[in-house]
Amino acid sequence: MTLTAVEQSIDQFRERFVLITKEVGRRIVGHEEVVTNTVTSLLAGGHVLLEGIPGVGKTSLVHTLADVLHLNFSRIQFTPDLMPADIVGTNIVQEHAHGGGTFFEFQPGPIFSNVVLADEINRATPKTQSALLEAMQDVSVSVGKVTYKLEQPFLVLATQNPLEMEGTYPLPEAQLDRFFFKLKVMYPPEEAMHQILDRTTQDADTSVTRVVDGPEILAMRHTARAVPIARPVQAYAIRLTLGTHPTSPYATPLVKRYVRYGASPRAAQAIVLAAKIHALTRGQAFVSVDDIRAVALPALRHRALLNFEGEADEVNTDTIINELLAGVNADR
């Protein structure tokens, strides 16, 4: 690969990234950071857990993203009676068309899409939730003795409501760790509310065009992984990850007090990969400490498991991670 090709890759990546976010922004207003991080997660090959109150546009965001990316989209509404087979699919008995007996045929579930919206994922039982584990990690599902590969790019966008906790099943740590980012969809600001009302209460054209397809997304993933990162910068990402552990020398006072378990190595992977994408979006051919800082919060906030005291005091993990970002020395 020549220098020119590298430069073209960087420019192309940046242009496509901007295209995606701009096109999504035509329909989704007031959530630019959520959109950017969602696209980053898509380009990194990760999955996103969207957390927010009802009506702030979580589902619309996923819909819009699927439309813009020219990808297959499916939605699974998680309920307590949802079964794993309802997600991954099942073998059903079929008869041969011209007689001669029956046979089992696999009927794929909604997981077989490029973009899967797992709406209110915490309302399903853990058994059903765990049906997503293999798909999210290995991009494959096993039914019976057969394993089926999922089509790339594969992206799971799960949503959950932080308020209505009755009758819900909080996601286990193993599943939480499989989400690349956890993004908080906040209530839109007043100016954004005007735009939302203008677009949804008037006869305005809110249609989006498909700007990127699957192969291009895969190419962008490949480009992102090629960005070099210097060892001292990578060491900072590692220190941040280790700092979420209460027994670590990098742990801050809040971590020592409120965190029971810290982030796994997946967190460091997520940080570095997301930082590379963040660097590319800025047109850089290298990763800086600023890139690490920009993506650390969504990568770590759901991976720090609070202890009893932290739960009792209703400590926000964002506060802990922000203190960690301020406390860990990046220049060492």
Partner: protein
């Protein structure tokens, strides 16, 4: 030889040359680090240099006025300069570019982490197109960084000026101006001033009260108004007079030793003429109708006044003939009361007194030695400071007491009882003036054997005292 800017220019004009870019990055880091260290060292130097100069100036002032060695300010200046030179040398040495240095330069130049990352990749052998592009871009950005402008030299005009002024002042005080401490020492260690000598003569001057008492006594004698009983009473008063004449003021003695007795401690016009008074007392002492002890007491007063006159004369002579400039004085060689001359002097010098500094108040011990004994070694409590010049007074007091003891009638003499109390009180006062801390029993000589001729009288004296 290619300069740093040439290397950077070459890297930019030949973007495919990753080696040039690597060199440019490493050279840029080294250049920036050098400029930064020069600035930091300059800041340090001009923060420390005024302090060193101030210390040298203080030391020079100490040499000038306190008598310190001139080496001290020079040594401070030399050591400070050498220390700063060493620090500058160590700081300006070429160091390998570490990640810490690159990070600092990156932050100062606002390169967003590019220089730090490029410096790390530039030090590695493994390369690919991405790292090459990264290095070339970093070299291009480094071209726009002016390290000299980013790290300008520290102006520190005030620090420079203050350092120069203080150093010049320190050198000037050390080298050019002589020390004043020598002159001050000479001045402070000089001989007693004429005023102090004049004050010595006033030691024996009479107070107005004493003058009045003596005047009344002499008038009574001259007019033959004294009866036998009055004469005996007057004799007791005369003894008190004698005691006061011989008693020197300890404060005045201390001042005399220091040589700083003021010239105006007393009023000269109120003092009686010692010579006239002595002549008058002598004349009255020769009156035939006086008792023997009164005659003796008057004679003693006359002797005291004579000595006062002589002392006054000696002080006046010293005031007129003494050298005008300062004179070195030996330690402890302060002004002394002139000892009696002639045979009286020889007799006085043969007497040593050791005072017991124990708890027994009033225990004064008189020791008579031979005439050839070494009386120059003052025994404890007998130096000039402690009244070593009062030999004649003590001797006369002893003589007087011996006479009184010889004529004492036990149980009948009320005057003697009063006298005994007075003696006791005087002994207590003398003990108070003795320097107990300097007393050394080892220096006290054994009392000499009492001559057989005096033994009976002495025995009687001490038996009476007990």
């Amino acid at each position: 030889m290619a300069t740093r800017s040439d290397i950077v220019r070459r890297a930019v004009t030949a973007p495919d040359s990753s080696t040039s870019a690597t060199d440019a990055v490493s050279t840029g880091v080294a250049d920036g680090d050098h400029q930064r260290r020069v600035r930091e060292i300059g800041r340090l130097v001009w923060r420390v240099a005024p302090a060193i100069a101030a210390a040298a100036l203080l030391a020079a002032a100490g040499r000038r006025w306190m008598g310190w060695s001139p080496i001290v300010p020079i040594a401070i200046l030399g050591a400070g300069t050498a220390g700063l030179a060493l620090v500058v040398y160590l700081a300006r040495r070429v160091r390998p570019a570490t990640d810490e240095i690159a990070t600092r330069l990156d932050a100062d130049a606002g390169l967003g982490g590019e220089l730090r990352s490029a410096a790390w990749f530039g030090a590695r052998q493994a390369r690919d197109a991405w790292t090459d592009l990264h290095l070339i871009r970093a070299a291009q950005r480094l071209r726009d960084v002016n390290w000299a402008r980013l790290y300008p030299p520290v102006p520190a005009a005030r620090a420079r000026a203050a350092t120069a002024i203080m150093m010049l002042a320190a050198i000037g005080l050390t080298v050019i101006l002589p020390s004043r401490s020598g002159r001050l020492a000479l001045a402070s260690a000089g001989a007693p001033t004429p005023a102090a000598s004049a004050d010595a003569s006033k030691m024996l001057e009479l107070s107005p009260e004493l003058q009045k008492k003596l005047e009344e006594l002499l008038s009574g004698i001259e007019q033959n108004k004294l009866s036998a009983a009055e004469a005996a009473a007057k004799a007791g008063e005369l003894k008190d007079l004698l005691a006061q004449l011989s008693k020197l003021d300890p404060e005045m003695l201390k001042k005399l030793e220091k040589g700083d007795v003021s010239a105006n401690t007393g009023a000269d016009e109120k003092n009686v003429d010692a010579k006239t008074l002595a002549d008058r007392v002598k004349r009255d002492a020769a009156a035939p109708n006086l008792p023997a002890d009164l005659k003796k007491a008057l004679q003693d007063i006359a002797n005291q006044l004579d000595r006062a006159k002589k002392t006054d004369n000696a002080a006046g002579q010293q005031q007129g003939d003494g050298p005008p400039g300062p004179q070195p004085a030996a330690p402890g060689d302060g002004p002394k009361i002139q000892p009696p001359s002639g045979g009286e002097s020889a007799e006085a010098s043969s007497m040593q007194i050791a005072r017991e500094s124990g708890a027994s108040a009033g225990a004064a011990q008189a020791m008579m030695t031979g005439a050839g004994a070494a009386s120059t070694d003052p025994n404890p409590g007998q130096g000039a400071k402690n009244g070593g010049g009062k030999f004649s007074a003590i001797e006369q007091a002893l003589k007087r007491e011996l006479v009184e003891a010889a004529s004492d009638q036990l149980g009948d003499n009320v005057t003697t009882e009063i006298h005994r109390k007075t003696e006791q009180g005087r002994a207590t006062a003398s003990f108070t003036h003795a320097a107990a801390a300097t007393f050394d029993r080892g220096h006290a000589s054994a009392p000499p054997p009492v001559p057989d001729a005096r033994r009976a009288q002495v025995q009687t004296y001490f038996i009476r005292k007990q």
